[in-house]
Amino acid sequence: MILLILLVVLAVVLLAAAVYATIQKDLLYAVLATGVVSLALSVFFYLLQAPDVAITEAAIGIALTTIIFIITIRNTTRDEDKYSEDMINRFKTEKE
């Protein structure tokens, strides 16, 4: 029973993180949410008897994909509604 609950909780975490990643305006948090999606997915794969896939998802999905997203955000803008910012104040999020 506990394991069934675990699967349900995982699915809820997965979808909640995915929705959060879509609606969150601060892209850094959105990207971290995709990392959470990958984490939940990786546990999912493990429970579905696919340890190979779980390790791959953990190494590539959680670590590498998240970091390349973060690099991109540092090179573009962090706030979803502010498409362009002054290059120097890139990490300040105050409204114009």
């Binding site: 190979d52 779980a54 690099i71 540092r74």
Partner: protein, 248 residues
């Protein structure tokens, strides 16, 4: 708003279609069939992975041998992505010259304390060893070339973001990258010459669950591990060295 609700409607239709189509293959149903007299490809693979190839991890057997050609293509995709990335974000001439003299453009750096830096220094060799362990044991345990390569790349990533002056030697990277990829293709050609089929395994495959078993499978997975590790490190290196510029 009209556009958005139209999109939502479209997505729901698509979702129902996909879900209904996949429900025709019920979750948890055994579609593999009899393993002794295989009718489906999966049963064939499950039968011949331990019997013929003597490879404990049948996913590895599929990835490296049964469907090894896919994997060659996949390694190529990664290689092409690294090449494409470099061509999209290539440095301009003056930066290239500066890089040759050793003055790389400043890398993105997160502030890191002494604790983090010391920890990274200790962790780095451990992560490398873990990566190497994973791809050397790819035919016995879960994991393999891709996973090991990705783990190695995470090790380098750790060093990249904690140490400002940590740079990989590009010559070594290029040599490893090229030679491991070439070695993969040449192993395939070896099969073509001696057994008449590209990527064919050797006749000698050892005993199930020995470290040296599975014929060429561990060897190929080591090449894949090196290739994927260098390729991913290369991608990270290129991305981390792009410097935002004011005008272009």
């Amino acid at each position: 708003m009209i556009k958005r609700s139209f999109v939502v409607f479209l997505l729901l239709v698509l979702g129902v279609a996909v879900y209904e189509a996949f429900r025709q293959a019920p979750f948890g149903q055994n579609r593999i069939g009899d393993v002794e007299n295989p009718q489906s490809v999966s049963a064939f693979y499950l039968k011949h992975s331990p019997e013929t190839l003597h490879t404990a991890n049948s996913v590895t057997a599929i990835v490296v041998n049964f469907r090894g050609f896919d994997t060659l293509g996949e390694v190529t995709v990664l290689f092409l992505a690294a090449t494409g990335l470099a061509s999209i974000l290539y440095r301009r001439k003056e930066e290239e010259e500066a890089a040759e003299k050793g003055h790389l453009p400043q890398r993105i750096q997160l502030p890191s304390s002494v604790l983090v830096r010391t920890g990274a220094k200790i962790l780095f060799p451990l992560i490398l060893m873990l990566g190497i362990y994973v791809f050397v044991h790819g035919h016995l345990t879960p994991g393999g070339g891709f996973q090991g390569g990705a783990i190695i790349a995470t090790g380098f990533l750790l060093m990249f973001i904690t140490y400002k002056r940590f740079n990989v030697n590009h010559n070594v990277l290029i040599w490893l990258e090229s030679l491991s990829g070439l070695a993969f293709v040449l192993t395939g050609v070896y099969g073509l010459i001696s057994y008449g089929s590209f990527l064919q395994n050797t006749g000698w495959t050892g005993r199930l669950n020995d470290l040296i078993s599975g014929g060429l499978i561990p060897l190929i997975y080591i090449f894949i591990g090196i290739k994927v590790g260098t390729e991913l490190t290369n991608v990270l290196d290129t991305l981390l060295h792009t410097k935002p510029r004011r005008n272009e």
